[in-house]
């Protein structure tokens, strides 16, 4: 690429990024301005549409002095646990479905694919009935469980593992390595981007979740951030300042997580070396 091409490319990329970020920037601006100014500069466009004319942190302070702090903690805890457990479960299952030879492998794969076709909202009520029977309302377990059975993550990892050349494991087997060793020492290190992608799926599902946490855990100690934000709006009035302030924090945390994990998407050397 020439220097000019590089500059043009960088500018295009930056423009795309900023364009996507624009609505979230507006949320940020709305969180730190006085309530009466949130809708004041929508039309016609002015510099104040995207930059606060008067800045106030009063709403942010108000947000954190309430139950929101607990809600953010709940969201983070539940999401982290979901991702960790979910990854372990999905990676192992994806490995089994891509690599382990056994009868009914295709059938099991179909079953898992079907599972993520089922809209979660459609099974939320029956699932609640089942969980209630085990006393799982208003518990972290109740919040976490639906997030770890994610057929999409299994599907993704299975697709990825299919692409790893069989020569690698055949060589390992000749050396006497068992299935677990092959999984842990060969496949997993080669799959960092895929694992991160699967982690992303699990993360997004759980961080975003609204209906399930609402039904299973509305108690203040267990409420998650997405539900807490919705609380700022009821029949008698909506506090957009708090909604946007809450939205800002609910967005900045994934943003930081995502920026950090971006680095790990780079291809690993082993793969490019052995692909034929």
């Amino acid at each position: 690429m020439t220097a000019a091409e590089r500059v043009l490319r960088t500018l295009t990329i930056a423009a795309c990024g900023l364009l996507f970020f624009l609505p979230l920037w507006w949320v940020t601006v709305s969180a730190v301005r006085p309530q009466e100014e949130i809708f004041a500069f929508l039309s016609p466009l002015s510099p104040w549409t995207l930059w606060p004319r008067n800045v106030t942190l009063a709403h942010v302070v108000e947000l954190w002095s309430g139950p929101f702090a607990r809600a953010i903690f709940n969201s983070m805890y539940v999401t982290v646990v979901t991702v960790v457990i979910g990854l372990v479960i999905s990676a192992k299952a994806g490995f089994a479905l891509a690599v382990l030879p056994f009868r009914f492998r295709e059938g099991v794969f179909v079953v898992i694919v079907v599972s993520f076709l089922i809209p979660f909202d459609a099974i939320a009520l029956p699932l609640f009935g089942i969980m209630r029977g085990y006393g799982l309302q208003n518990t972290y377990t109740g919040l976490i469980l639906p997030g770890i059975g994610n057929g999409l993550a299994v599907f993704l990892l299975r697709q990825f593992f299919l692409g790893i050349p069989r020569e690698l494991r055949e060589a390992a087997m000749i050396d006497g390595m068992g299935w677990f060793g092959i999984f842990w020492r060969i496949y997993v290190p080669l799959s960092v981007p895929a694992l991160i992608s699967a982690g992303l799926i699990l993360f997004v599902f759980q961080w975003q979740a609204y209906l399930w946490p609402l039904i299973i855990a509305p108690a203040p100690d267990y409420k998650v951030a997405a539900v807490a934000i919705a609380q700022f709006s009821d029949f008698y009035g909506t506090n957009y300042s708090l909604i946007f302030a809450g939205s800002f924090f609910v967005s900045i945390i994934p943003m930081l997580v995502l920026v950090v994990f971006q680095r790990f998407f780079a291809a690993s050397i082993a793969t490019s070396g052995s692909k034929d």
Binding site: R132, T141, W179, P218, D221, A230, Y236
Partner: protein, 424 residues
């Protein structure tokens, strides 16, 4: 080779379980009463505090869910026999449906006490079904006409008369709103709960078109009479002509008035707190308009407290609900951080002091509301099919507001409602 995996998995589960236990709230030695509502914690904090002080053997835990999702929460938990909710806030139009599904305890044994504390028969009607009382009446609502004095002055329009007997007609109001808009107001008029049946039912009642449901059980939709279509078209024309804005949701309507863009605004008294805090907003209140040749009608009804028949603590639940609604102190405390009116007669007396203070600045708020509640309030149809009805009506109003032909929309809605209500 497989053992490490199993052990690893078990260890992870163990850690999670232990942490969860540590982080869970420890159960106290008192009896816990679980209370579900759609309000923020600070609304009920004062009354909970007072109740716990007077009854130290009880502890009340308030769980709140967003208003739009309260029905889901009630259906999924109370509906499935969950004992983890003892008392919950029930929106009064839904009381018939809840009662008929067995989600509410029959309170006839306390009927005398309830009727003594809440003498207004309309409020008792709102918590009843099939002749029995099923919930403790807590709050009620009314509506006011707000107007921006500055925008009216700019157009040379006289302020609406605050006396209920001399209220504006809708025809007059629209003419004035158009004049205000011509003189510089961005918008002439707006409803607070735009597209919602609660807000718009009075239009149809005032025009003599009826509530939309007929029949013995109020399960037959009646939306295609001439008056219904005419009034609905009138509603749609408000937006078609540009007098009122499209695309603004009910949550965003207060903001229009606060920023001085709106000349006339029909909304509930809960907006008073917000408007009073805005610098430089010079506004007044008047009674809600009516259609010429028709009756003045205002909407009413709000929340009541219901008891879950499967509650773990029936006795405690009823004690708390009774304290919050049947005692003057409890009733008043529920309104300290919230702007709705208590149904308890004595609680209302304490409450009205705050409203009376506003008279000098904005007008006789208290007098208007007392008059409306006694004379013009009409309740939403007491039908077990109310939720389906309201959902479809809100949809229909939305379509009409966005320009669809009123007759067509109402006919489609009537057909659909007939099918839906037949399944109940």
């Amino acid at each position: 080779m497989t053992k490490p995996t199993l052990a690893g998995g078990a260890a992870i589960f163990g850690v999670v379980a232990a942490t969860s236990l540590l982080l869970s709230a420890a159960a106290g030695a008192q009896t816990t009463i679980n209370f579900l509502s759609a309000q923020n914690d600070d609304v009920f904090a004062p009354v909970i505090e007072a109740f716990e002080a007077a009854n130290p053997e009880y502890r009340v835990v308030h769980q709140s869910v967003p208003f739009n999702d309260l029905n889901t929460a009630v259906e999924s938990r109370v509906g499935s026999g969950d004992s983890s909710i003892d008392v919950y806030a029930a929106d009064t139009p839904r009381v018939p449906a809840f009662a008929s599904k067995g989600y509410l305890v029959n309170l006839d044994d306390e009927a005398e006490a309830i009727e003594a504390a809440v003498p207004n028969p309309v409020e008792i009607d709102l918590v009843s079904h099939d002749g029995s009382i099923f919930a403790y009446p807590m709050w009620t609502s009314s509506q006011l006409l707000y107007f921006n004095r500055e925008l009216l002055d700019a157009a040379g329009i006289a302020y609406p008369d605050p006396a209920p007997e001399d209220r504006l007609t809708w025809e007059q109001l629209i003419a004035d709103a158009e004049a205000a808009q011509a003189a510089g107001a961005t918008w002439g008029f707006m409803f607070q709960q735009v597209d919602r049946y609660y807000q718009l039912q009075p239009l149809f009642e005032s025009a003599g078109a009826g509530s939309g449901l007929t029949g013995d059980d109020l399960l037959e939709p009646a939306l295609t009479g001439e008056k219904w279509i005419e009034t609905a078209q009138w509603y749609g024309d408000l937006f078609e002509s540009g007098l009122a804005p499209r695309g603004v949701t009910p949550a965003q309507t207060d903001d229009l008035f606060e920023r001085g863009e709106l000349a006339y605004f029909v909304g509930g008294p809960w907006a008073l707190n917000r408007f009073n805090q805005v610098d430089g907003l010079d506004y007044g209140v008047a009674p809600m308009p009516y259609f010429e040749g028709g009756e003045p009608v205002t909407p009413t009804g709000a929340w009541a407290l219901g008891i879950n028949p499967h509650a773990a603590n029936l006795e405690g639940a009823r004690k708390f609900a009774a304290f919050a609604t049947l005692t003057a102190e409890g009733s008043y405390l529920t309104t300290v951080n919230f702007a709705l009116m208590p149904t308890n007669a004595e609680g209302f007396e304490r409450y009205q002091g705050r409203l009376a203070e506003m008279t000098e600045k904005v007008g006789p708020v208290l007098d208007i509301m007392v008059y409306e509640m006694a004379n013009t309030a009409v309740v939403r149809p007491r039908s077990v099919g109310y939720v389906a009805f309201e959902t479809e009506m809100n949809q229909a109003f939305g379509d009409i507001r966005n320009g669809a032909d009123a007759a067509e929309v109402l006919e489609q809605t009537e057909n659909r409602l007939a099918r839906l209500l037949a399944r109940l």
